[in-house]
């Protein structure tokens, strides 16, 4: 297994093409379609795994990752407000990005594990969907305070029925109801093409990340340091949570990756509406410009190595 996974190479290609100001641009509808595909495929795969095991143990796991998301958001807020000297709104919005998760990072991690034949718990997809949400609510509470007359109903609706969560949970429900045998007929599309589609998607991600360079330059060194340090801290929290939950090495790696990842779809959209005074360029420069490339290029192997050490030590 060489390091040069084509999926990563596609990302680097997009990044370089963007930095060289190539005219390369994928149609917007293609990017949206690839996102839909990846979310559904991740959901289906997770759901099909859940079909063969009891669901009860899920409940403590769900509770644990909600706490994990809340903790990450609070820690990030503290770091950004204190040493980072961010304003309240910017700190809260950015913290919400880091307390939530990135589906693309998760997809790269599952592909990385699959390429090494490392198994992981099927419910990771449901944890992924769950972890998208709490940071959004905490971030808003941090920005506005809880006393204010925020429309929590509308926010909850938005958080739980946003595109990402809907597709993940819908895919899981389908996978669970159809089971591995039922999915054979759609396997040719959703499973066999997964890595190719992920590659194409990461090409576009590379192009998008390349556009963050300008904002990153304006935001200064602290954001870069935060964008590298926060995922490491979060990964450790994720590993700890995973150990408590008794996850396998694959599950530990994925939970660390989830914790380390920062949202760049669901959270920016939610924060733009709920905390409009926050500057979206800052949060995106951090989560897309620093943390996403760091995680997929260096983080995942590192978290896997840590998971192996911890799993060895704890067993």
């Amino acid at each position: 297994m060489s390091f040069l996974d084509p999926v990563i190479l596609f990302f680097l290609f997009g990044l370089v093409a963007g930095l060289l100001r190539s005219e390369l641009k994928l149609p917007g509808a293609l990017y949206d379609s690839l996102t839909v595909f990846l979310l559904l495929a991740i959901g289906l795969k997770g759901g099909q795994g859940l079909a063969t095991q009891p669901l009860a143990p899920l409940i403590p796991q769900i509770a644990a990752v909600i706490l994990l998301g809340v903790a990450q958001t609070l820690i990030a807020f503290g770091l950004l407000r204190g040493p980072g000297r961010f304003g309240r709104a910017d700190a809260a919005a950015t913290a919400a990005h880091y307390g939530s998760v990135s589906v693309a990072t998760f997809a790269v991690a599952t592909a990385w594990l699959a390429a090494r034949n490392i198994e992981f718990e099927p419910q990771m997809a449901i944890l992924l969907a769950i972890m998208e949400v709490p940071a959004i609510l905490v971030g808003i509470a941090l920005a506005r305070g809880v006393s204010k007359d925020t429309d929590w109903g509308a926010l909850g609706h938005e958080a739980f029925l946003g595109k990402g969560v809907t597709l993940l949970l819908g895919g899981m429900a389908i996978g669970w109801a159809a089971g591995p045998e039922g999915l054979v007929s759609v396997k040719g599309l959703f499973f066999d093409l997964f890595k190719g589609v992920l590659a194409l998607f990461l090409l576009e991600m590379g192009l998008i990340v390349s556009r963050q360079v300008g904002a990153l330059r304006r935001c200064g060194l602290f954001l870069i340091a935060f964008g590298l340090g926060m995922p490491l801290l979060s990964a450790l929290l994720g590993l700890g949570t995973g150990l408590l939950l008794g996850f396998s090495v694959g599950g530990l790696t994925l939970l660390a990756t989830l914790a380390a990842s920062a949202s760049y779809i669901a959270v920016p959209a939610a924060m733009r509406i709920a905390v409009p005074e926050a500057n979206p360029a800052i949060s995106l420069a951090g989560s897309l410009g620093v943390t996403f490339p760091f995680n997929i290029l260096a983080g995942i192997p590192l978290y896997h190595w840590l998971a192996t050490q911890l799993a060895g030590a704890s067993s």
């Binding site: 641009k25 917007g28 998008i208 920016p268």
Partner: protein, 102 residues
């Protein structure tokens, strides 16, 4: 033909795609009875918005209403949106048939 066109005001708004649902809800709350939306990209004081992905896409909203209503809505936009969102809005004098519709 013997057409009697009536003056109305067209309010055009260019802003971030991400606010589409909440802005349209606001427009209706502020009394607008119809609108037309199209996808767009652009550049302004908040930098280039090139629609490469949803975060950087714009929309262009048009709504025909009475001069009074148009000014009211414009004022609301200034109060609630101008400070925090990439947004441009302007009024154009237009003529319609069926004045009761707008």
């Amino acid at each position: 033909m013997n057409l009697t066109t009536v003056k109305r005001t067209l309010l055009t708004i260019v802003t971030e795609a991400v606010v589409e649902p909440s802005l349209l809800r606001d427009l209706e709350r502020w009394g607008v009875r119809g609108y037309t939306v199209a996808d767009a990209r652009g550049k302004g004081s908040r930098g280039a918005r090139d629609a490469a992905w949803d975060e950087t896409a714009n929309i262009r909203i048009e709504t025909i209403c009475s001069r009074e209503r148009a000014e009211q809505v414009l004022g609301q936009l200034q109060e609630h949106y101008y400070a925090n969102y990439a947004m441009v809005a302007f009024l154009t004098e237009i003529e319609v048939l069926r004045p009761e519709k707008f």
